[in-house]
């Protein structure tokens, strides 16, 4: 989930912070930079796969750093930030929207971290003005929220809540969140504006949004501590019936394995890297406060590389065998683990999340009904792996798989009639197909109450009978007049002849031709 940091660079950010105990004069901007520095440092160390970009805004906006994992560049741009004129949030949000769409399209969930002092401009271009004129805007001048992509908006105020509540700023910011579908949060500073309180505010953001997601991946007794990146988001199912957010478990248990061909490119809600980690279990016993030196850490990492890890084994075998592991994420919630290779031939263990529910993929059926092959009387994959129990067939075939009759277009009806006539001319060889097509037409005509058609086709068959060449097999004439007679009887609606599930059967004749023999 990429992050856009939207930094207020308006003049009001340069307002000094009144500090009693601090000797140095600090601006709000300094506090903001300190907070962001802390965020960037945290990401560089603990969340380094996150793509982050930096946008500064005043009355204009500028993309200072495009999406990157290079936190030094971000830090540098932050330190070189200049001061500009007034705050104009609307255009800046437009900017964010553009920047994200250009890079990630419209499906990628994004996090927007807005850092501002809470003075949101005056007059035209101010947030207040934007919000007052929300309604009745032309299509091309719509307010940028909600974003066209799923986005969480985190508003980091370099101000405390009381300050913001004195004016209507807090109210405006809350409105802004609502416009974003309520997705996000407003953070304010507690107590005095100082380095400590800004760090505590960004600390809260880090804890909620940028802390790694630790989990344990299990396959029976084999297990590995892992980090799932990006953090899996809670999922809401039917808001009406099931309004509770669903979180994935931190215990990821493998249920079994399925071939890639059988799972066959399933739709997924999100994808996550599963990275094996070393969890320092001793920490609980020794107590907190034992932070390792970086040097030791690298040697610890090297050491960890040499200790066999289940993730690596699993990844290797999944890759070689072309299989996926079905993993349980929660009650009636599943996902799959597989080996994912990028263009540089680097591969990694990836986890995709299916939509929660007992049956995420129709072709697998209910996941709870998937059992070990040893439960089956006969190996469903065959002794030589030539078979597969998947995909499951639906109970009722879809229309395109069952030769339905549709006469909405005249051509559909004409084709069906011509098919009968074509076969009629090839009697008795085509007796089977002739009656099959005839019965298909008869069924549809009865269902649609289209008795006129039955009469019409009966007449056509009678005419065909008169047109039979002298060389024709005698059976042909019998079958044609028999069929015509049966159609006419059906067209009366007489329940004896017009039953839907009844078929017209070929007439049994004494001419032991191919047709009769084929009965």
């Amino acid at each position: 989930m990429p992050t856009v940091v939207l930094m207020d660079a308006s003049l009001s950010m340069t307002r000094p912070v009144s500090l009693e105990q601090c000797s140095e004069e600090l601006q709000r901007k300094n506090l903001a930079v300190a907070g962001l520095t802390m965020l960037f440092e945290h990401m560089a160390n603990n969340y380094r796969l996150e793509f982050t970009s930096l946008v500064a805004f005043s009355s204009l906006w500028e993309l200072l750093v495009p999406f990157t994992r290079d936190y030094n560049t971000l830090q540098e741009a932050l330190s070189n930030l200049e001061d500009y004129d007034k705050t104009c949030l609307e255009s800046a949000l437009h900017g964010v929207s553009n920047v994200v769409q250009q890079e990630w399209g419209h499906a990628c969930p994004t996090q927007v971290v807005l850092v501002t002092d809470g003075s949101l401009g005056i007059g035209k271009g101010s947030l207040r003005h934007s919000l007052q004129t929300l309604k009745g805007r032309p299509e091309d001048k719509k307010f940028p929220l909600p974003f066209p992509f799923p986005a969480k908006l985190f508003i980091m105020c370099i101000a405390n809540a009381e300050e913001l509540q004195m004016t209507d700023t807090m109210h405006n910011l809350e409105q802004l969140l609502q416009l974003n579908g309520g997705d996000g949060q407003i953070f304010t500073m507690e107590g005095q504006l100082c380095l400590k309180s800004v760090q505590s505010m960004f600390g809260r953001l880090i804890d909620e949004v940028y802390s790694p997601f630790p989990a344990v991946l299990r396959c029976g007794n084999l297990a590995s501590d892992v980090q799932v990146f990006p953090r899996p988001e809670p999922v809401f199912l039917d808001e009406e019936i099931d309004p509770m957010p669903r979180h994935i478990l931190t215990d990821l248990e493998i249920v079994g394995f399925i071939e890639i061909g059988d799972i066959s490119s399933p739709p997924v809600m999100s994808r996550h890297l599963v990275l094996p980690i070393v969890v320092n279990k001793e920490v609980d016993d020794v107590g907190p406060g034992t932070t390792e030196e970086p040097e030791e850490e690298t040697s610890a990492n090297q050491q960890a590389g040499k200790v066999p890890n289940f993730c690596v084994l699993l990844h290797g075998s999944l890759k070689v065998e072309g299989m996926v592991a079905l993993v349980q994420l929660g009650p009636e919630w599943y996902g799959m683990l597989y080996s994912q290779a990028d263009s540089k031939k680097k591969s990694n263990l990836m986890m995709s999340l299916f939509e929660p529910g007992p049956e995420p993929l129709p072709w697998l059926g209910k996941v709870s009904q998937l059992g070990p092959i040893s439960d089956a009387a006969e190996n469903p994959y065959g002794e030589d792996d030539s078979k597969s129990p998947f995909p499951l067939q639906p109970k009722i075939k879809r229309s395109y798989a069952q030769n339905v009759t549709v006469w909405i277009k005249a051509s559909g009806l004409q084709t069906d009639v011509q098919k009968i006539l074509r076969n009629a001319r090839k009697l008795p060889e085509k007796t089977q197909t002739f009656y099959k097509e005839l019965n298909r037409l008869r069924k549809a005509a009865l269902a649609f109450g289209f008795w006129e058609l039955l009469k019409g086709v009966a007449e056509l068959l009678e005419r065909e009978c008169t047109l039979l060449p002298d060389t024709a097999h005698p059976d042909a004439a019998f079958q044609l007049s028999h069929a015509a007679k049966q159609l006419k009887l059906a067209s009366t609606g007489d329940s004896q002849y017009a039953a839907f599930d009844q078929n017209i059967n070929p007439m049994h004749t004494d001419f032991s031709g191919g047709g009769a023999a084929g009965m």
Partner: protein
């Protein structure tokens, strides 16, 4: 997404009154005469459909599309109305199929023009439809029972589609009023019933059908609110083609469908088999498959075209060769069932048959810039065709660290092939739902997990950690012992495996023992066998709780494995004491059944490292007679020593020390260690006296 939205229940009310028998006056020429045969023949008069036939076939088309795209949870109740109402099916899922409906419609037949028009009315059907909407569906019932106290969250909404021939706008208003009144009436009744639900929202869609060439007596009217419960809209449509188009648009609106046209489908010409032409096929599917286009405003760029005065839009996607193979796992963000608009046209059936045969097609989104982006894929799964949406934007997970750079990434001898075999054995298969399996307790998925648990009780991850899994001779036993229950035959096979190993030992066959971490030639042959037997015992011990036969496999191993003679003596001396130890060990095993394996895993890791550091001090490993039970732990203690001496204590050392301390409480300290000097004791002093004794004796015979 709401499960119980208006589209959960759709009641079709089709007018079956005498006037519906009237001809639509749209004629179909079904006698197409070919030039060669047509001479001098009078062609058959064209047939024409009645208003009834038009209404029925268009409503069936609506149902066909709906059932293709939503085979479950979107239900139709089909009602026919004349002098009374006829309900052709129920809300039950098994009643939801076009075949069922066609069969019921055939039984109804076309309207009887001779019937007294005074007693016939579509009103009967509308009243029945409202009553029917109050009836609870199996899905609503299920949701209510699972929700219990919040059952009121389960909504009851529905839609009535009425196909009729109305007299006038006043007549239409009368029908609306009637529906409104019936809803109020039925809601009162439903309030006092368990099997009925009151209607919270109802959409009435009145379709007035009139023959071609006539002027309509009823005016079109967009959706309006009749009351807080009822909205109503009126569509006045000519029978035939127009009606079909209208219902096609309605089914799209009602069920959030969108249209995609696949272009450039290469197809062999019927007449000229060696030429091919390109065809287009239109498909309907859930509109979320176009989400990306809607959001980006790319709809027009994606080649959408408007037809029928802008009411219907379709997105054009281009057929893309080369095709994809099934073993590729695409990143797919959605898969939606499709239904071809023109199901039995030749291009449609060619495309669907091609897909049903198991092939997949990638689809390309034409862009203004001329660049190509593969945005969708058509693929069938078990006779159902899905439109997959492929991710075509940059991935946030690009350029991840390779797995070889992370934890365990530098280990090179993982048992990849063995684990592959393990995965094949633990593949899943659908187990048919039956009351029997439910009675037996665990659902299949839980049984699958239980099997994984059994199979992994002892599963070393790297080749150098194991001997037995590198030996062909052990395979039969290793495959069987993990089973939930063993047959008499299985037991026999296991025992044979053990005898075979004994045989190998007697013949002094080499073992594939790892020499990683040890310098020189590695352990001696007899030591190799001792390691192998220990490992085999470890494996089998994790399963002895399974059944009596599992226990017998272990008994067999214990009985057969070679015991060096000096142990015999010790046994003679202290059989009692050993019995005690045995028991103690068993209880330990039970206590730490779950952890013991992980622990021993850790210990082994430590052992490997210990060996490296220890260098030449192979004395211990070479010993033919380390005591078997818990033999690794004391050894570990000694290995830890040099590590301890090396400056800061590592976490591993701290952990293992803790474990050792815990373990040492559970067993008597060895005499050797108690009397050791600098934690080293001279071992096998007695060997000096008893030199030359035959070390290889069959343990079986000695017992």
């Amino acid at each position: 997404m709401k499960m119980f939205s208006v589209s959960h229940k759709t009641a079709f009310v089709v007018d079956h009154c005498p006037y519906m028998a009237e001809s639509s006056r749209q004629q179909v020429e079904c006698d197409v005469l070919t030039k060669s045969r047509g001479q001098g023949m009078i062609p058959l008069a064209p047939v024409s459909k009645s208003l009834w036939t038009c209404a029925v076939e268009c409503s069936m088309e609506y149902c066909r599309i709906l059932y293709d795209v939503y085979p479950l949870k979107k239900l139709i109740n089909y009602i026919v109305s004349d002098s009374e109402f006829h309900i052709l099916n129920s809300w039950r899922q098994e009643d939801q199929s076009t075949h069922e409906l066609m069969s019921a419609l055939a039984a109804v037949g076309p309207p009887n023009p001779q019937e007294d028009p005074e007693c016939c009315s579509v009103l009967h059907g509308l009243v029945a439809a409202v009553e029917s909407l109050c009836k609870i569906t199996e899905y609503q019932h299920e949701a209510r029972t699972t929700l219990m106290d919040t059952a009121d969250r389960v909504a009851n909404r529905g839609r009535i589609i009425c196909l009729t021939n109305a007299k006038s706008d006043t007549h239409v208003r009368m029908l609306e009023d009637c529906v409104q009144e019936t809803i109020l009436e039925q809601n009162k009744m439903a309030a006092g019933s368990d099997r009925l639900m009151s209607i919270q929202q109802c959409e009435l869609v009145l379709v007035h059908i009139f023959p071609q060439g006539e002027d309509t007596l009823v005016s079109d009217r967009p959706k309006k609110e009749v009351s807080s419960l009822l909205t109503s809209e009126v569509h006045s449509v000519r029978a035939g083609r127009h009606l079909a188009t209208k219902l096609n648009i309605l089914v799209q609106q009602h069920f959030d469908l969108a249209s995609t046209t696949i272009t450039n489908i290469p197809m062999k010409e019927e007449q000229h088999a060696n030429t091919s032409a390109n065809y287009d096929v239109e498909l309907l599917h859930h509109r979320d498959a176009h989400l990306e286009f809607f959001k980006s405003g790319d709809l027009h760029m994606a080649g959408s075209t408007s037809r029928d005065s802008g009411l219907k839009e379709t997105v054009t996607l281009k057929w893309c060769t080369p095709r994809t193979n099934s073993v590729e796992l695409h990143y797919c963000t959605g898969a939606y069932r499709i239904s071809p608009t023109d199901v039995n046209s030749r291009p449609s059936s060619c495309l669907t048959n091609f897909l049903l045969n198991g092939r997949s097609v990638l689809l390309e989104q034409p862009r203004k810039s001329g660049s190509k982006v593969i945005s969708h894929m058509l693929s069938s799964h078990g006779g159902e065709i899905f439109l997959h949406v492929l991710n075509s934007t940059r991935s946030t997970l690009e350029d991840p660290p390779s797995i070889s750079e992370g934890c365990g990434g530098r280990v090179t001898d993982y048992r990849i092939t063995d684990f592959g075999e393990f995965m094949r054995e633990n593949r899943l298969t659908p187990v048919p739902e039956s009351p029997d399996t439910e009675a037996s307790g665990k659902p299949p998925a839980e049984r699958a997990k239980a099997q994984l648990e059994r199979y992994t009780r002892y599963w070393p991850m790297i080749i150098s950690q194991t001997t037995i899994f590198n030996m062909q001779a052990v395979v039969p036993l290793a495959n069987l012992i993990v089973k939930e229950s063993l047959s008499e035959e299985d037991l026999l096979t296991c025992q044979k495996t053990v005898y075979n190993l004994v045989d190998m030992e007697r013949k002094n066959d080499p073992l594939p023992i790892s020499t990683v971490g040890s310098r020189g030639k590695g352990p001696k042959r007899d030591e190799q066998y001792r390691i192998m037997w220990n490992e085999l015992e470890t494996l089998v011990k994790t399963h002895v709780a399974g059944s009596e036969r599992h226990q017998r496999v272990l008994d067999c191993i214990i009985a057969c494995r070679s015991k060096p003679p000096e142990e015999e003596e010790r046994k003679k001396r202290g059989r009692k004491r050993e019995d005690k130890e045995d028991k103690a060990e068993k209880s330990i095993n039970k206590d730490s059944e779950d952890k013991s394996w992980q622990e021993s895993e850790r210990l082994k890791g430590a052992l490997e490292r210990g060996k490296e550091e220890q260098g030449e001090s192979e004395v211990i490993k070479d010993s033919p007679d380390s005591p078997e039970p818990l033999n690794k732990k004391p050894r570990l203690d000694e290995i830890q020593l040099p590590e301890k001496a090396k400056g800061p204590v590592s976490l591993l050392t701290m952990w293992t020390n803790r474990i050792t301390v815990a373990n040492s409480r559970k067993h008597q300290e060895f005499a050797g260690r108690i009397s050791s000097v600098n934690n080293k004791a001279e071992l096998y002093q007695h060997l000096k006296d008893e030199n030359g004794m035959d070390l290889h004796e069959n343990g079986k015979a000695t017992r």
